[in-house]
């Protein structure tokens, strides 16, 4: 499954879930700020993607790859992402503009930085994981 196909499907599902026109949903659009998506819409979108690709998506998967890359160092302390955590996030999620990965970012707020492309990468990561397991 290539990235282009998945991103088109993600955009289609976002459009179906929110009623937005596909033309205004760009890969670099942030879900919560630039697109009028609320948390319930996100649930809907994740459910639809789960059904479409027969995978399981959790909100905690959003930063899972970054946590796994920490090599034992703390990713967060008291819900605030550490400096090392911010660096890893920047590496793992280059689609997020650097100026948004600022000191004081909480784990809870990471989802607000998520773009359409981030969601696509998450689906691809899960598809690869499930293929590896299978």
């Amino acid at each position: 499954m290539n990235k282009k196909e998945v991103i088109e499907k993600v955009i289609e599902i976002i459009a179906e879930s929110t009623g937005l026109e596909t033309e205004i949903i760009r890969p670099d659009s942030t879900l919560f700020n630039e697109l009028p998506i609320n948390s319930i819409d996100l649930v809907d979108i994740l459910y639809s993607l789960e059904m479409e690709y027969d995978i399981s998506l959790k909100l905690s998967d959003l930063e899972k790859q970054s946590r796994e890359a920490m090599e034992g160092k703390p990713f967060e302390i008291d819900n605030v992402v550490t400096d090392e955590g911010l660096k890893v996030l920047a590496e793992k999620m280059p689609e997020i503009p650097a100026e948004r990965l600022i000191k004081g970012l909480t784990v809870t707020d990471i989802v607000k930085l998520f773009t359409v492309e981030s969601l696509t990468k998450l689906v691809l990561y899960k598809l690869e994981s499930s293929e590896a397991e299978g």
Partner: protein, 252 residues
């Protein structure tokens, strides 16, 4: 009024108990497809034989053995139902348990078990089933709560507390999912003529009847009728987040 529940796929947890049995029969009478969820195969076999003996068609029954304490087991069941019918229209969260013990004699594990069975398992099943309802933009959930969620409760604190939580779960969740076409309501039965109420009836039976405006306890079928109504997208289309007490006036 027709309830328009024909061919609706209806999941009923705790199907082998008194109210669960009445729920299965009531939905089958409406020609719905019933998915009884059960844990004990022997108890389910009794229910199954009863349903067949009443003339209900076996192909309208798709029973599933599920451990409501396990996400894996629940997800597997939901996949089975989706594969067979492609949808879930109605979920009745009926599984629950009560035991009587003074609060100060409850051990941590007793408390945890009460919260798990009555609240956590309900939430777990909801989380999985709502996925299909979200996609379908349609669905109805009825949680079986209790009169004890807001009245009485001496000796059954964990049951009362967990059912109060189910009430609030019902209302808060109704706010979250209403825009997706999903209605969530609860019924709060008073003392109903089931095995669960037997210890209570043995000790306080006459008092309970005297305290009821209708002078009697309820029958499981009377709870089932209210659940049918709330499940019906035709009859209860504008009702969500509601807690319907069914107690013959016991709580007045």
């Amino acid at each position: 009024m027709h309830l328009d529940l024909q061919n609706e796929v209806v999941l009923i947890s705790g199907s082998t108990g008194g109210i669960g049995t009445a729920l299965c029969e009531a939905f089958l009478e409406e020609d719905a497809i019933v998915v009884p969820l059960y844990r004990n195969p022997e108890k389910y076999e009794i229910l199954h034989q009863r349903l067949l003996s009443k003339g209900f068609r076996d192909d309208r029954i798709f029973a599933q053995n599920v451990d409501l304490g396990s996400n894996l087991s629940i997800d597997s069941m939901v996949r089975n139902v989706k594969k067979r019918f492609g949808k879930i229209d109605v979920l009745v969260n009926n599984a629950g348990a009560s035991f009587e013990r003074p609060f100060l004699l409850l051990e941590e594990k007793d408390w945890q078990k009460g919260i798990d069975v009555n609240l956590n398992n309900t939430a777990r099943l909801l989380r999985s089933v709502l996925k299909l309802m979200f996609i379908a933009r349609k669905g109805a959930v009825v949680n079986i709560s209790s009169l004890l969620s807001h009245r009485y409760g001496r000796g059954v604190t964990v049951y009362a507390a967990s059912k109060a939580a189910v009430d609030r779960l019902t209302q808060a969740l109704a706010l979250e999912v209403g825009l997706k076409g999903i209605r969530i309501n609860a019924v709060c039965p008073g003392v109903i003529d089931t095995h669960m109420a037997e210890p209570l009836m043995e000790r306080y039976g006459d008092k309970i009847k005297q305290h009821s405006a209708l002078g009697r306890i309820g029958q499981p079928e009377e709870v089932a009728k209210a659940v049918l109504f709330l499940s019906s997208g035709k009859a209860a289309s504008f009702i969500t987040g509601h807690l319907l007490t069914i107690d013959g006036g016991q709580g007045i």
